[in-house]
Every structure is written in structure tokens, then in C-alpha cells.
Amino acid sequence: MTTPLAALALLQSYDPQVEHPGNGTFFVATVVKMLVVFAVTLGLVSLLTLAERKISAWIQDRHGPNRVGPGGLLQPVADGLKNFMKERVSPGFVYAPIFWLAPALAFVPALVSFAVIPFAAPLPTPWGLIPMVVADVPIGFLYILSISSLGVYGITLAGWASNNKYSLLGGLRSSAQMVSYEIAMGMSTIPILLLAGNVSLGAIIRQQAVTGWNVFALSVAFFVFMVAAFAETNRLPFDLPEAESELIAGYHTEYSGMAFAMFFISEYSAMITQSALMVTLFFGGWDIPFTSWDNEAPYSVLKSLATLASFGAKTLFFLFTFIWIRWTLPRFRYDQLMSLGWKVMLPVALAYIVIVATAILALDAAGVARGPLYGGILFAMNLVLLVILFVWLDRGRLISPASGRARAAEVARLRARAFEVRQGRRAPVAELAGEAAD
């Protein structure tokens, strides 16, 4: 064996003794895919920071950043430059080795977990059919669950190593929150296993092409998964680790410059991964709905591009939902968060596993073939379950009062007040002043 080949083997990238012909293609294709996915994720993260501010501005009826570049489009570049140029402040009381390790520990899991998500139909090239996923591992989404369970280290250690009460509280909150919701998340994926019979994401996408999207066949699981995904990414309404009204900025209070930006980037790339995972597990992955044209051989470049667009559109929708919900819902209180995780989400997910297992057993025993009818029956069952779940979760607090009629006396009182405001006899927001100051 020649020296360069041995060197490559030592670099863990090339295996000279595996002789099947696809070896070189596999190596080149994987490196290219890694670079592309990494670059696209980071690019998307920077655009998401802009999208977050633009959408929040839109929701709050303001303009948002619009000074840097056309329509504020270069704002992420300016932000990035600012973060690079800033001084890296190292407070004297921190435990330095872990303090500087923590941002990296938050950053890496968020970026590597996208590796197993298939983002398009296989691409035919002169060197053979190339699967459009960085690593087609047979453990599928278990890989994502296990890698994202490591994300908690960055936050917890950042909180501890900062040697600051508020940071420590933020770090402890996050570890409790993420461990709790991880369980609900894992349990909500078990019905998918029951239906698909495999943990591999490719197999789950193929199953959804047959029985229809899992969001219909397993709606309750999707609900639990989505709530858990918000908690796992520490986004509102579950951003307790950095609740600024109580904890300044929680675990990243002491960080500055690029180290702070790394926490920021890891939050947004975790959002991208969770969105892509929701799409893959519940919305058919790269499948284009209402046609089987895209998931049948022969594959073409056009099919790959079309499915990539389909996957991208679905993922962007969920990224929008993440931002939308952040600027719509207020934050939970800490005890509410914990009781929701342990007393609602986990029991619901467990009961749902039993219900789905029974339903699948009954449907298979009745001889219903896997197909649209199978998915349809499960969807009908889910509709009933969802109505029961939401009525119970709401218990006449939010949804039903919102649609109820206001009392006539209340309406008259509000009208009278509005009249007084117009006459100038009363300050417009006097009663709200206390809340607006928050």
C-alpha cells in the first residue's frame, strides 16, 4: 500500500481495502454533501436571524431592520461582523476551561444532527445513484434524538461555569426542561415506529408515501412532538432557561462576542433540525403530495430538484411557525412547564401508544391493506382523539370563551370608555401602563 493511501486511511476518510467500486464515489459524494449541508445550514441560520426580526416586526406592526442593504437583507452580515469584531470578555470568576468549552458543546450537536435527514429523492449521476442524505444510518432518528440530547450539556455547563446565580438557575432549568421533554418526544415517535416498522428515516418516508402523511394518521403524536420540539429548542413559550425578566439572560449572561453568537447559532440550527425532523416524520419528508411520480424509479435530476423544493418549502413553513409562535404566545411559568411535560405530555404520549398499537392490530386483523384507506381510518380515529384532548386541555379557559358572546354590559362599559378617550377626558392606555412597561 502506498503512503498517501495510508495517510488517507489514518485521516479516517478512505478505506483502501474495501474493494467495491462505489468507494471513491461514496467518499467524494459524502464530502460534497457534508460541505453543502453545512454551508446551507449556516446560511439559513443567518437568514433566520433576519427573518425572526422581520416577522416579529410584521406581527407587531413595525418595519424591522431595513437600513443595511436592500430591505435590510445585509443585516445578518453586519451582525456577524459585529460579533467577530467584539472583544471576547473573560470574566475573572468563571471556571475558564468549561466556560469556553460550553459554546462549542452547544454548537456541535445542533450542527451534526442534520446529517441523517434525507432532503431529496436520490440523484442519478454518471457515477451511480447518490442518496440525498449525508449519512444513511440504519438507526435513523434515534441518532437525532441521541445527538440532540447532548445539546443540554452546552447550556448546563455554560450556566455552571459562569459562576453566576442567574446563569446557574438558567442552566439547571434547561437541563430539567430538556430531559423532561426529551422523554415526551421519544414517546411520541413510537407510534411512527409501530406504523413504519423501522427507525430508518428513509423507511418512514416510504411508509408515508403509502398510507399518507403521518400528521393525519398520527395527529396526536404530532401534537406532542411539536410541543416537545419547542421545549427542546428552548423557544418561546418554553424559553425558561433565558427568561430575561427573571434571569437577565440565563445561561449566556456572561458571554460576549462570538461565544454568545455560538449559542445563538446553535438555537437556530436546532430549530432547522427540528423543523426538518417534523417534516420527515409527519409530513412525508421530500414527498410531493397527491402524486407518486416523485418517489418511483427512474430518478432524474428534475425529480431531485422538485423533491428538494418540496422538502425546503415544508421546512421553511415550520421555521416560520417557530417564529410565529414566539411572537404570539407568552412564556409559561416554570412549574406549569414541568407539570405540562410530566403530567400531560408524557401520559398522553403513553396512552396514545397503546391506542395506536390496538388500532394497528385491529386493522391488520380485519385485513385492511396498507394504503389510503388504512391512513383514512386512523385519521378518523385521531380526529375524535384530538377533539377529546383539546377540549380536556382547554377545559373552558381559552378557546371556548374566545368564541363566546361578550356580555352586553361589558360592551357598553368599553364603548363609554372609548368615548371618554376621544373626548380627551381620559388617557388612552392608563390602565395598561403597568403591563406595557414590561
Binding site: M1, I139, S146, W160
Partner: protein, 170 residues
């Protein structure tokens, strides 16, 4: 066995052993816990290389991702680094530990010389269904052990709740 495989095997083996050494020698309890996480990660990589991908994923998910996080949680809350905990590392204990290590090493050497340690190597064809084989063994051959373990865990959970309740009243 291919060169790539051997390189990886020794790489992760060395990482696992070195991290384990750091785990027992670090003074700072948080740093020690992190080295243990690293050991578990390297072990997971070795499992994956032996084609036990499911075990590898669960190793990271359960040990590195859940148990060690709770462990860290406790270490941080107790702030063990600052207290003068009684040091159990007396010369006697150290000698005992060294003796156990020597006996263990000798056992391993004898067993491998006698050919009693089975050679493990990954299968030539990659597996596609990784969960079912584990489940099959768990629910047929090892059903009794599996059920007893689950009862044991339940007892532990109930015990933890009882202890927590008692402390609140006191």
C-alpha cells in the same frame, strides 16, 4: 479486517481508556463527569463499529444524554468542588484498587491466550433493521430478566418518591 477499521478501533479504544483515566484522576467533579461522558461516547462509537448500532444510539441517548445530565445536575447543586469532603483515597484503598486492576488484567490475558474471548467483527453486509433483533432477544430469551429489571426500576422510582416526600415533611 481492513486498515480503516483497525485505525478507528484503536482510536476510539484509546479515547475511551484515556478519558476513563482522566475521569478518575480529575479533582474537579464537573470535569470528571465530562470525561466520563467522553468515555461513554467512545464506547458508543465502538458499539457502532461492531454493528450494534442500536446499542450505540441508546448508549448516547440514555447514558450520555440523560443519566449523566442528571448526575451533573446533582454535582452542580451540591457544589462538590468547594467542600472538604473526606478523601477516601487512602494508601490502603489505592493499593486495593491497584490489586484489583492487576487481577483483572491477568484474567483478560489468560482468557485471551486460552481463546475464551470470542472474536467479534462486523458482518460484511450492513444491517438495515437494527431494532428488531434486540427486541426479539429481549422478549423471548431474556424475558424474565427484562421484566425483573423493569420491576427493579419501578421500585427505585417509588423509593425515590418516598424519600423526597419524607424530606419535605421533616
Amino acid at each position: 479486517m481492513s486498515l480503516l477499521y483497525q485505525v478507528h478501533f484503536y482510536l476510539f479504544g484509546i479515547i475511551a481508556v484515556a478519558s476513563a483515566l482522566f475521569f478518575v484522576t480529575r479533582k474537579n467533579p464537573v470535569a470528571a463527569a465530562l470525561w466520563l461522558v467522553n468515555t461513554m461516547f467512545a464506547l458508543a462509537a465502538l458499539y457502532v463499529m461492531l454493528d450494534a448500532q442500536f446499542v450505540g444510539a441508546i448508549q448516547v441517548l440514555v447514558y450520555a444524554g440523560a443519566i449523566m445530565v442528571v448526575f451533573l445536575f446533582v454535582v452542580m447543586l451540591l457544589n462538590l468542588g468547594q467542600t472538604d469532603a473526606p478523601d477516601f483515597r487512602t494508601p490502603g484503598v489505592r493499593l486495593g484498587a491497584a490489586a484489583v486492576a492487576v487481577v483483572m488484567l491477568a484474567e483478560l490475558l489468560v482468557l485471551s491466550r486460552a481463546g475464551r474471548i470470542p472474536e467479534v467483527a462486523p458482518s460484511a453486509t450492513p444491517q438495515t433493521n437494527v431494532v428488531a433483533p434486540v427486541a426479539e432477544l429481549l422478549f423471548t430469551e431474556h424475558l424474565l430478566a427484562f421484566e425483573i429489571t423493569s420491576v427493579l426500576l419501578l421500585v427505585a422510582v417509588v423509593g425515590a418518591v418516598v424519600l423526597a416526600k419524607r424530606q419535605r415533611r421533616a
